[in-house]
Symmetry: C2
Subunit: 404 residues, 2 copies
């Protein structure tokens, strides 16, 4: 068996350019609308700056270097990432400052990061355990490099991070014994807080981060002119920003916000979070807009009231909500007209198929295209190696590669 | 911003060869053990042949051309796929016969398939609607190509496929009006049958496929010497095979089985299905063995009884069951020793983290590696662009690319 050539088709990829999403691209395909994307980039940058904070968008959401570039061009301080491989991938695509909001574990991962630091990457990771601090200290001393670390604060029953001051003190002491490590600040993630008055708990957590960094600063153990204080996912970034701002961190510290999903927002989970943010601050100017949709064909109409869509778990996120039907593009209209179908409902999804409950006499045909929104964009991006940036007329403006 | 070079790291990829999974590869990484893989390839081929059936393994499980090649070398008749892009990807990697167990919808998808047929691909797709038949007939007539189609039979409340004989008759009549279409058989998928005596319903469904193809053959509407009759996912392949065998299809028809998950099997869902198959046939020789595992580091031990693993929804399937901890490789042993941890339990998974409930005084350290099994392999393969084929000592024998 010999492959007929080097030509390689990938799903969601236009076979040629210029391309129109509905005329040229084999569906299903994932599309990012350029107008709301551009709006979101500017909106969040302005929000962070308005609160005296730097923005380091979480890049794990999209893993799309073309979006990292737009985020940095919009003014982002750096890109947040979750793993060593994500870090070196971003660096290979021109990102010069990475905040890895995770522990760096395992020799091969440390080697990747050390090589990137040697090649000029400004890099930060978090620590929450003495053993890991010793490992990192020994490894980076061997490599004759300095590793910037932030102590992670966690919450009881949460994910990683120190639960109390005694754990922080033990870490500070161990870091001080490791000449290769530079303690440069404090990191947290408020997204693990659940139950009770969550907003109050998020504010209190933000204040704990502030108090901890001030205590460390007073102890003279921080090796950075303006130590970093960072938190915030995509749900509570307003409360973290306000807490940092009220504490006037901007003067002597580097407060950093790390939302990721804002870049394309969504149609349900973060749409709801945005409503809550607006309710907390009625004076807030503007808001994030959904930019990510997945387009797929009606594949079969086997029974009244049921449409099978050529769209599955391989193509779109299905947690916490199943894909949300938005618009139908009738096949006979050639993609020039669309009809609102937001009243329809996805009832089930398999690897390659979605089940749509539709009105019994719905105007729908096999070959029609449906546009779907998502609830939580992270688990849609990772289904695609190519995401199409489109304009409002569905012309493909840019093919964005992802690197999961 | 200029990327420093063409070098590109991907997750799960060894930085050099030869490589050892635990010493050289940045974890997490997905591994296929070669011994059970080779065993499974032979076992299923022998099973199909023993029942007088051809094997067209469902390739959507892995989308790994290296595994397609092994399946074909083991004797498979062709590869089953789910979409046009999967089809042309397989063809570009040397697969010459594809059974697309799905409807072909949309001009760009039809174009991909037509180009592949022109380039020599032997291709079959399924139809279940008159409109789609007309579209295909017109498109392939324009291209001056013949398209082989199978009529799909479905079940009430199921997915695609004709629900009754009247729908089949309407399709047969429409296909007869389309000179570009060749009706060559019948297709079904018994995996949608649920509730009641499922085994009996699967047998009855298999018999319905047999009766339908015989009726069509008697009507002289099938344009293939030995018409195709095909069904079977990975759960009920034994009952479909027996039903086809008992009907003595092998003499005048081409019975085709299409299991996909068998190639690497799993540690729970299909392990359970295998137990049921053995119970239905106590004389069955041998059985499938789990071959796919994902390896990841212990990242944090923030509280007694809780380990955070650097492994998330981006790395491993979590449906219908969360990842199954199998073995722990203590860091100080350098990967040479492993300890059974199958009593531990994953309690939660996020995009990049898994939460493990462990005994309060468990022997575990940050930097230890855990091997996890899965329940349903399809949604683990699609998390990886590279899957490592390893031997029992965890030496990397082959890097297998996937093409989702």
């Amino acid at each position: 068996m010999v492959a007929p050539g080097n030509w390689e088709m990938e799903k969601g990829m236009p076979p040629s350019r210029p391309a129109h999403l509905l005329h040229d691209v084999p569906l299903p395909a994932a599309a990012v609308f350029e107008a709301p994307l551009t709006h979101n980039l500017a909106w969040m940058q302005r929000f962070a700056e308005g609160h005296g904070a730097k923005l380091a968008p979480h890049g794990k959401t999209t893993m799309a270097p073309a979006l990292f570039r737009r985020q940095l061009e919009a003014g982002a301080w750096g890109i947040t990432l979750a793993t060593a491989v994500q870090t070196v991938t971003a660096h290979a695509h021109g990102v010069d400052r990475v905040l890895m909001a995770n522990q760096l574990v395992g020799r091969p991962n440390m080697t990747l990061v050390a090589d990137a630091i040697e090649a000029g990457l400004e890099y930060y990771c978090v620590v929450d355990g003495v053993d890991n601090v010793r490992d990192l200290g020994a490894f980076f001393a061997d490599r004759e490099l300095t590793l910037n670390v932030l102590i992670e604060l966690g919450v009881d029953g949460g994910r990683c991070g120190c639960r109390n001051a005694a754990q922080v003190d033990a870490l500070v002491a161990e870091i001080a014994r490791q000449p290769a490590l530079a303690l440069v600040g404090i990191e947290g993630y408020e997204g693990m807080i659940a139950g009770g008055d969550e907003a109050a708990a998020v504010r209190a957590y933000g204040e704990r981060l502030v108090e901890t960094v001030r205590t460390l600063q007073a102890s003279d153990v921080l090796q950075r002119e303006a130590p970093i204080v960072t938190a915030s996912g995509s749900k509570w970034f307003d409360l973290i920003a306000e807490t940092f701002d009220r504490a006037e961190l901007r003067e002597h510290y580097t407060p950093v916000l790390r939302p990721g999903c804002y870049v394309v927002h969504d149609h349900k989970l973060y749409a709801g979070a945005m409503e809550a943010i607006k309710a907390r601050d009625p004076g807030l100017e503007g808001e994030l807009r959904p930019a990510l949709e997945v387009f797929a064909h009606v594949q079969s109409l086997p029974e009244p009231g049921l449409a099978i869509i050529a769209l599955g778990k391989r193509d779109i996120g299905h947690e916490p909500d199943l894909p949300l039907p938005l618009r139908r593009y009738p096949r006979e209209a050639g993609g020039t007209v669309s009809v609102d179908v937001s009243g329809w409902r996805t009832t089930h999804i398999m690897d390659q198929h979605a089940f749509l409950e539709i009105p019994e006499h719905a105007d729908i045909a096999v070959g029609d295209v449906l546009a779907f929104g998502t609830s939580h964009p992270c688990l849609t991006f990772d289904k695609w190696r190519r995401v199409l940036c489109v304009d409002e007329a569905l012309a493909v403006k840019e093919v964005m590669t992802t690197h999961f």
